[in-house]
Symmetry: C2
Subunit: 230 residues, 2 copies
Amino acid sequence: MDKPHYEPAIPDGTNGTATQAISADGHSELGKRYMIPARQGRAVRLQKGQRLRIINPRGNQVCDFFALVENTPFEFLSMEHCRTALGRIYVRSGDVLVTNRRRPLIEIVEDTSPGVHDILIACCDQPRYEQLGAKGYHDNCADNFRMSLSAIGAPIAHVPSPFNIWMNIPVSPEGDYAWEPPVSTPGDHIVLKAHQDCIAVMCACPQDMTPVNGKDAVPSELEFQVDAAP
Amino acid sequence: MDKPHYEPAIPDGTNGTATQAISADGHSELGKRYMIPARQGRAVRLQKGQRLRIINPRGNQVCDFFALVENTPFEFLSMEHCRTALGRIYVRSGDVLVTNRRRPLIEIVEDTSPGVHDILIACCDQPRYEQLGAKGYHDNCADNFRMSLSAIGAPIAHVPSPFNIWMNIPVSPEGDYAWEPPVSTPGDHIVLKAHQDCIAVMCACPQDMTPVNGKDAVPSELEFQVDAAP
């Protein structure tokens, strides 16, 4: 065979994501602030009604966000189904994002940034960085997704297309798009409400070969906390 | 549990797709014209270099197109990776479409239509029709994809987002889109070249509750044939 075999759960390399889960099973301490180091990912379990607050301390860091329905590894947040549900290629505060079975999973309940996020672009992965010219292993969101989940013992069936929070991909009227720095500012946060018990995965995108994490292309950390339903 | 369990390979209902494969293993007779009845799907195996010609006899029928790398059920044509590779949210003749491992899989080598196709929208499924108001089972492209593959004995790991040939989803500068009838005309065809051995799945979309298959919303048949590399 002239092609490599591919298994969705197996990363192409490794980093601290594999060993630095927030807890053995992904449960968090409510109200506690957790840090996601630059270039890494973290998984956290959410109960229906809980709020996940994601903070962008430096303002220029993209968060690749995924969510999987608890105990149903094949059902997850799906951007192509969200676009159908929304009738738009952009999201807004108040939107309810759905799964690949078209069931509500994540609601954007608060967003202090100007609201520029992406729901069109695949998460970065080792093949992407090799195509951009990287030599050897490069941290990437697909592997951080895989490692975040395996670190809490959760199965992986597929790497879904992410909700790219703060990622600025303006689409021209002709359908071309650009890779632009975020328009968010230091301390911006977004609050997501879980409509079902689920596992959320957040990756501090390690992209340093395009300006999606700022014109200087220096990835930085993110923070998050889970709060009880108000 | 208040939620249904979901398995990617299990259809929500059935139709002739489940029993009317073109052959037991999905191989075709080169140059032979096959018909896909309205509201159904068919799978066909392609060898690297072969051409798949898909014909739109009435001109107003959308083809939900999928392709899976042979012997690698987790690697398939992926619209979110195509958008990254192309730098656009629309395709053009000459484009090479890639997998979720960013490897070339399908090239658009000929297109007699005006070239209006969609790479943004999830295939229709039973939950979509229920949300549109359908009572009981409604034929759908997700199930036709599942049944097309099971009918030739091929495994299903995920229902990918399709390349919606002839589907007309114009996106406004603000990011809203519309569901419009195709601009293709009777007898239009598209020719796709396989860059790897793969399984192609074509579904004659059964959408009759929006105008994507024409303003009269009457789904019709498609035809296809496989030709040797020239």
